[in-house]
């Protein structure tokens, strides 16, 4: 007999897989989309530190890479905190789907 969904869950409300929320994509929440302008990026990593959604990818060398749009909710903290280069922001917010 096939088990019902809830019968397959571990007993006692235990979650056995660490970080399993990664299976839940929150990128669909976004209405504004951050755009990374690499030539203005000084690699300060503030965007990475201040991202509430762990949605700034980092290379093995610790350098900033593209946004993780599967999870980014488009809050815009990164764009506001971005110091940019010579007054030019390395992150700007754009309307999603434009």
């Amino acid at each position: 007999m096939s088990k019902k969904y809830w019968e397959k869950l571990p007993q006692g409300s235990v979650v056995l897989e660490a970080g399993s929320s990664a299976k839940f994509k929150t990128g669909g929440w976004r209405s504004m989309r951050p755009k990374w302008i690499e030539e203005n990026c000084i690699q300060c990593m503030f965007c990475w530190m201040y991202c509430p959604d762990m949605s700034v990818k980092v290379t093995a060398e610790g350098k900033r890479a593209e946004f993780d749009f599967e999870y980014c909710k488009g809050c815009g903290i990164c764009a506001l905190e971005c110091p940019g280069k010579k007054g030019n922001k390395a992150i700007v917010m754009e309307q999603e789907g434009k």
Binding site: G19, S20, S21, A22, W48, E61, G62, G76
Partner: protein, 318 residues
């Protein structure tokens, strides 16, 4: 263990120990706080979490954002829960049933879960002297259930249980000074931090983990839904909170107070209040006195803190 160096590029190579895919609101301050706390150290951490936004949104059914052992028990007992886990760990190590891996025990709670409903269990755990750290992410109201006032809600703020209108102009009382109340427990380390000063926050966490006994860290955590502000200003507002001395960054180590970051120039409190819709009514002419009252309270608290810090300096010089 040597203390982990706090360079952003080095830190960014590491694991945040809290995953994306959590369901905190867009632009919430709390996950930034948690990330900074967990990344400050490489020690294994076991955490408990009081009911509230952080708990509700980071562990839904079989989806957990935590990459550390994490327990949710109830709203009022995060401190009691983790104190029990800590006691069990100590006992098992003593009995030789568990190898001591220098595990650190942490409780996270919102201000409702800390200042109000979890207060007695927190006070008890501190008094019993457990080797644990309690971290309050203070967003200044019961946000998860729809912005009800707590004893951490600032004077004048509009919440659903102290609504600004014809009858009252928002919350009538000043905040409870929880950080000082925790210091009055005589525990070895108490501090206040802000995610905008990430280095300061992480240094405090590092320091606290090297101290045996109960520790308390109070961290300001902007909530754009409850503060009626923008989704991108969590860091900007927490910075303004520090610069206006609404949320001073300080620590009390073995009874000695030290201001860890003193703003170069103390900004007027309105700089912090103005961008937040919860204080909007305070800017109408008939409520002008409220702004003065709020500023006077912040000034008095700040001056008192400076006095305590000066006394600490004098102590050290002796």
């Amino acid at each position: 263990m040597t203390t982990k160096p706090l360079r952003l590029r080095e830190l960014a190579k590491g694991d945040e120990r809290i995953s994306h895919g959590h369901r905190m609101c867009s632009g919430c301050g709390a996950p930034i706080v948690v990330k900074q706390v967990l990344m400050a150290t490489d020690y294994p951490i076991v955490a408990s979490n009081a009911t509230g936004c952080l708990e509700v949104s980071t562990c839904i059914q079989e989806y957990t954002a935590w990459k550390i052992p994490w327990i949710h028990s109830a709203f009022e007992n995060a401190a009691a829960t983790i104190s029990g886990v800590e006691a069990m760990y100590r006992s098992l190590v003593k009995q030789g049933k568990l190898e001591d891996r220098n595990v650190k025990f942490v409780a996270f709670g919102g201000d409702g879960g800390t200042y109000d409903i979890g207060f007695q269990s927190l006070s008890g755990a501190m008094e019993r002297g457990h080797d644990m750290m309690y971290i309050c992410y203070d967003n200044g109201a019961y946000m998860n259930t729809g912005i009800q006032r707590s004893s951490a809600t600032p004077f004048g703020a509009n919440t659903t249980t102290c609504p600004a209108g014809d009858v009252i102009p928002g919350k009538l009382q000043q905040r409870k000074d929880m950080t000082k109340i925790m210091a009055a427990h005589g525990i070895p380390y108490v501090a206040q931090a802000s995610p905008s000063s990430w280095m300061d926050l992480m240094k405090k966490v590092q320091k606290a983990f090297e101290i045996k006994g109960p520790k308390f860290l109070n961290v300001i955590s902007p909530c754009n839904r409850g503060w009626r502000s923008r989704t991108d200003d969590a860091i900007a507002l927490s910075k303004l909170a520090v610069e206006t001395c609404y949320w001073p960054l300080y620590e009390i180590e073995n009874g000695v107070t030290r201001v860890t970051i003193k703003p170069k120039e103390k900004k007027p409190l309105v700089d912090f209040l103005k961008p937040q819709g919860r204080f909007k009514h305070m800017f109408s002419p008939e409520n002008a006195g409220m702004l003065t009252q709020a500023q006077e309270y912040v000034d008095a608290q700040w001056n008192q803190l400076l006095k305590e810090a000066a006394a600490g300096e004098a102590d050290k010089a002796e």
